[in-house]
């Protein structure tokens, strides 16, 4: 078996004791010229550019809410069917893995809901950042849960996951790539100070927000998750439900997943 040579740009090797005729030199120079005039993506360390998946909404403030789109119930059970047989038809009783903690007091009656966005990556990709902003405005009715102290409120879960390559529709076989759950939202405040005009010496943008005091949680994390080519990636936000009052989703939502994709198509 020939010893692999260390060169990237040409197979020609020149060493003491070897011939160094014009043909070999010509081939070496031609290899270099071809490589220089056709730089491949793999020759470029910074061959990545970002793309961002942006989503978000502000729900209505009616209570109680029964229409929580795009949040949908976490379990596929008989009570969640308008037709079909729960035993025969349902394949994923639980839709997402790993988000639930048995002792979370806010998760009652299994009425939690997932907001799932599915993305496709045709080429190898790096997920580099996730950001979920859930703002409240207690003076204007966008206030479920996060009024007052956030301490101890651990009711939300955030999951990035990818279905199994071999069993794409079996959620129990999926790979959880990143998960943020059972974290105290008090540690993820938007700010320790109120973002309201007059509360500090800062410059606002226009249009001015009709707020009295804006607060909430901002979950931002850098990621370094390698995604193989031709992969499905799902981004799920899980919120608790409330049977009688306004939903826990009652906040201003902004969620962005950032990825670095290779430059060449």
């Amino acid at each position: 078996m020939p010893t692999p040579h260390p060169r990237h740009v040409t197979h020609e090797q020149f060493a003491n004791g070897c011939t160094i005729d014009g043909s070999r030199l010509d081939r070496a120079l031609e290899d270099i010229l071809e490589r220089w005039n056709n730089v491949k993506g793999s020759d470029v360390a910074s061959r990545w550019m970002q793309t961002q998946f942006v989503q978000g909404f502000t729900p209505d403030i009616i209570a109680p809410q029964t229409n929580t789109f795009p949040f949908l119930a976490v379990r596929n059970e008989a009570a969640q069917l308008v037709s079909g047989d729960a035993d025969e038809d349902v394949t994923n009783y639980w839709r997402v893995k790993g988000w639930q903690k048995w002792d979370n007091p806010y998760w009652v009656n299994d009425r939690e809901e997932h907001w799932t966005t599915t993305m496709w990556f045709e080429r190898p990709t790096v997920l580099t950042h996730v950001a979920i902003y859930q703002l409240i405005d207690s003076a204007n009715g966008i206030n479920r849960v996060l009024t007052g102290s956030l301490t101890g409120q651990r009711m939300f879960a955030y999951t990035i996951w990818s279905p199994s390559e071999f069993d794409k529709e079996d959620a129990s076989m999926a790979s959880v790539l990143w998960q943020h759950t059972w974290r105290d939202l008090d540690n993820w405040r938007v700010s320790e100070t109120l973002w309201s005009p007059g509360a500090g010496t800062w410059t606002d943008m226009s249009p001015a927000a009709p707020i009295d005091d804006l607060e909430g949680a901002a979950i931002e994390q850098d990621l370094y998750i390698l995604i193989p080519a031709r992969s499905r990636v799902k981004f799920t936000i899980t919120a608790p439900d409330h049977p009688t009052a306004k939903q826990w989703i009652d906040r201003n939502w902004s969620a962005t997943l950032t990825a670095l994709e290779p430059i060449d198509v």
């Binding site: 030199l25 970002q50 793309t51 502000t58 403030i61 703002l135 370094y224 499905r232």
Partner: protein, 573 residues
């Protein structure tokens, strides 16, 4: 230096210095241009998120598609539009061309081979339903059948901005691409094509045309007996993957708020790697003994020096904090970016109509405190640096089916000038999340307070209709989208209407202060960490005789941010 050539060697030729010039040329000036790259194109996505689509959502027919318009004008440095009568554009060989490469379409099926019940499922068909409905979001295994028989299309038209008959034509002029998606794609118990992915599309998009993505879902809705069988597409995510040529970072039109550490902007960022000594090319004069390997001045050593360039790989672009790479060796490391930010995308009825006495109090900022206001905001983190080039608002007037006091009488544009109300929309750079150093820098804004009928939007680039009609030309009064330019702050930039030059945005540190932005020192200095989009209606009042015309169309509005982005190196390994 870009592409190189060389003198070929032939048998019996004496070796001269110039035979090895290629090594010297590469080593002493190792700069790669886009023309040398195998593809020379960057990719970007038009990512559109739609919270819900369901049959019968509109007031103009359950079999009508849902449309979302967008435009992809050239970066400011390539933008070439002349205003006059009429306005016209020029496209030449230097204008970068955008290609549509892939389309990805997905929605939430709750991980099952079932259809998801819509907001009006099982409600009486005879009346316009009040939402919500307890069956919403539940699974229908037996109904899936052809419910998810879908189709996608991208259509093109010339913006009314360029038309001498302003506002006359709102329908599409060309179908760029389309596909019918069979319902089987979403009904397999053990394998579903969700997301539905199409690659290798390779359609060229015109730099000055406007486009509309149309989603057809005519079988989602059905009336059975006296009730609605209303199913939904929940949380639709459409990704239009496009490519754009790599372009120089040091643009002919530099940004107005350049970081001061990049004062050489315009003369080139390129800092070449240390040039190695090329022995043969420098010292290989005729008669000089050529050594194959093992010594400092040898062929092997020369090739090693060149090979090192590839071994270390070429580098370019910015890091996350807007610092150019210290071994920047790629001349064209910029490309195109589109960020589509949904605003008012998931109101209770999917949209808002004027005089909706029953519905409006359910919207935030309306009732509490008697504000009579509608407000939405999105925060988008700044991860990699961007140079913001253009900002547009795709303003949605798609009529919706909604229960209102006194019933609906008409749709379309609000049709009269009303005093005392304003629609404002803005884009800002922000800093201060999870800190106490809060500040904003305004990037672009737009205000409007006079509907006054069709075509009365300031800065209107185009009027479009997703509605498909047999009446030619389509009714302008029933057109349901308009695209307006939100001017960048400052003066001296290029756009359909007067605006400022591009604005740089990155999460640097304020150690590198920015220069002027809109004529003043930017409050965020150079430490912005997010973009914020805000939209507000204020001074509204019900019962003003607007015949329930559409204020926010079904699906809400989109802010379209066009930017230049740059090559990046992943943060860690």
């Amino acid at each position: 230096m870009s592409e190189v050539t060389r003198k070929r060697l032939s048998r019996g030729t004496k070796l001269y210095k110039e035979h090895f010039d290629i090594l010297r040329d590469i080593e002493t000036d190792p700069k790669v241009a886009a023309s040398q790259m195998a593809t020379g194109r960057g990719t970007f996505r038009i990512n559109l998120n739609i919270s819900k689509l369901h049959g019968g959502h509109t007031n103009f027919g359950e079999d009508q598609p849902h449309g979302i318009p967008f435009i992809l004008p050239p970066l400011q440095e390539y933008f070439d539009v002349t205003t006059g009568t009429p306005n016209y554009f020029e496209v030449d060989e230097s204008t970068p061309r955008i290609h549509l490469e892939e389309v990805h379409f997905s929605f939430d099926q709750r991980e099952e081979a079932a259809a998801v019940a819509g907001p009006t499922y099982n409600t009486a068909a005879a009346t316009i339903p009040g939402m919500p409905n307890a069956a919403s979001g539940k699974l229908g295994f037996e109904e899936i059948g052809d419910r998810y028989k879908l189709a996608l299309a991208i259509v093109e038209k010339t913006p009314t901005f360029f038309s001498s008959e302003a506002g006359a034509y709102v329908g599409p002029q060309r179908e760029v691409w389309s596909v019918e998606i069979p319902p089987d794609a979403f009904s397999g118990k053990f394998f579903r094509l969700n997301p539905y992915v199409l690659t290798g599309i390779a359609r060229e998009l015109h730099p000055y045309k406007s486009y509309m993505l149309k989603i057809y879902f005519e079988d989602l809705y059905e009336t059975v007996g006296t009730t609605r069988q209303d199913f939904a597409l929940v949380n639709v995510q459409v990704s239009l993957v496009c490519s754009h040529p790599l372009v120089p970072r040091d643009a002919a039109l530099p940004p107005q708020n350049l970081p001061t550490n990049q004062a050489a902007f315009g003369t080139g960022f390129v800092i070449a790697p240390p040039a190695a000594t090329i022995n043969v090319s420098n010292g290989g004069t005729p008669g000089t003994k050529i050594v194959a390997g093992g010594e400092t001045e040898s062929i092997s050593q020369d090739l090693y020096e060149v090979d090192t360039l590839w071994r270390d790989k070429f580098k370019a672009g910015y890091d996350r904090f807007a610092e150019p790479h210290y071994e920047n060796s790629i001349l064209d490391d910029g490309s195109y970016e589109v960020i589509c930010i949904p605003l008012f995308g998931n109101t209770r009825h999917g949209g808002v109509v004027w005089d909706d006495v029953a519905g409006l109090p359910n919207e935030p900022y309306w009732s509490p405190g008697g504000r009579n206001m509608l407000f939405d905001r999105r925060i988008v983190p700044l991860v990699q640096p961007l140079m913001i080039q253009h900002v547009y608002l795709a303003y949605n007037m798609t009529d919706l089916e909604e229960s209102v006091a006194g019933g609906r009488t008409s749709g379309g544009f609000p049709n009269a000038s009303l005093a005392g109300w304003d629609m404002e929309v803005g884009l800002g750079l922000g800093t201060g999340i999870r800190s106490d150093g809060i500040d904003y820098t305004q990037v672009a804004s737009y205000t409007w307070n006079d509907f006054g009928g069709v075509g009365n939007f300031p800065n209107q680039v185009d009027i479009l209709s997703a509605e498909e009609s047999t009446t030619i030309p389509f009714s302008v009064s029933n057109s349901n989208w308009t695209i307006v330019q939100m001017d960048l702050v400052g003066t001296g930039g290029n756009g359909f209407f007067a605006q400022g030059p591009p604005i740089f945005a990155a999460r640097g540190s304020n150690h590198w202060q920015r220069t002027q932005c809109g004529g003043v020192a930017p409050p965020t200095a150079a430490a912005e960490t997010f973009l914020e989009a805000r939209m507000k209606y204020s001074g509204l009042a019900t019962g003003t005789g607007q015949n329930n015309r559409v204020l926010i169309g079904f699906g809400g509005h989109y802010m379209i941010v066009i930017a230049k982005k740059y090559m990046a190196i992943p943060r860690s390994r």
